[in-house]
Amino acid sequence: MEKIIIPKPRNDSLVAQFESLYKTFASIQSKKSVNFDLSLLDWVCPLLILPVSAYINNTSSNHDIENSPIKSYLEKINFPDGIDSISLFQQRVQKHKSYIPISTLKKDAGASRERLEALFSEKIYSILGSVPGAQSAVTYPIAELVGNIFEHSKKDVGFVFGQFYPIKNYLDICIVDCGRGFTTAYKEEKRLKLSDIDAISEVMRGNSVKTEKERGYGIWTSRRIISDVLKGGGFVLISGSAGLIVRDGKEELVSLPDFYWQGVIIAYRIPKPLGPLDISQFLE
């Protein structure tokens, strides 16, 4: 099995994590089983570690954390398997108060899955504090983006993970699926032949892969709430061989040569809110 050494991010920015993610997967053929070596990593954020977890779960790949300086952290977050039960999630959160485990959301678990996701959102909300309006502002993107996974991916499993950094005072969240991705979803649902870049653009313009009204705004509205209400420090969306990066309110679309993510990766960073938050303008 080919060994893939995950490169250490050059700094703690989302783009640096994205760079490490890109370099990790650029050398891997789609769906191939590999052995991930995490020995170079002394710090990770969800954008890097969650796609690796999802890939391991999806391809039965191996991993080596014996020599990793973050072995203890990876064990605390239940890397790479994640947790798919409410009781285990509660136990883990009780035991390791600062760490939220990777949550594995299984479609066929129905209401149990919804409860696990609710626990995740409640934990994030409790970490970020209870300023007025925070519940909606924090929960909206998680609910819409995770919901999106189950509606469009045609895959039975999704992954969600968050980590709060108390010294830096921000929270990183990542949501991943290994499903059909946007391009295939448009092709199968609307018979549209789009490039990965164009498929991301369609998603961000609110053109749903489904034909019903009141659809298609989930990702766009979430991105606006993250940037404009939560004053987010970045938003990354990857599907297939394309990515969208939002920093300081500026949107950049990028083609990812030699890289293909089967499904969707969404990650964002939000600072701890200091004052009241209001998402009502984005609901109209």
Partner: protein, 119 residues
């Protein structure tokens, strides 16, 4: 004499589903539960439900509309967040918003993006 208790059913959403309702497919679970209930009048009790996503609110209203011939379904004990979401989605179902989101990104190369890592 009509037995009020027998014609009216209260369903506690947080017990049946979760305290945060995000996915449309959980509304399918609720629909199946409602269909099994004999009572014509049903209160969906949102006590302890903290948030309903836009997608789930849409599915909830669609389900209510679909079942309205056979069932009278009421939403009760909704908090401000849940009530707002249901109102906005209900209004948009009647008068859909025509304005599409603007999206005018800059296209960049992977090389120039990663140059900015240390910037």
């Amino acid at each position: 004499m009509v037995n009020i208790k027998k014609i009216h059913k209260n369903l506690i959403i947080s017990d049946l589903l979760a305290s945060i309702i995000s996915s449309r497919d959980t509304i399918d679970i609720l629909e199946k539960i409602i269909k099994k209930v004999d009572n014509k009048s049903i209160d969906l009790d949102f006590s302890n439900v903290k948030f309903v996503s836009r997608s789930a609110a849409y599915a909830l209203l669609s389900m209510r509309e679909k079942l309205q011939v056979k069932k009278d379904i009421y939403f009760i004990n909704t908090n401000k967040n849940v009530a707002n979401m249901l109102r906005v989605v209900a209004a948009n179902r009647i008068v859909p918003q025509k304005k599409k989101p603007e999206f005018n990104p800059k296209k960049t190369s992977i090389k120039s993006l990663f140059k900015k890592v240390l910037a």
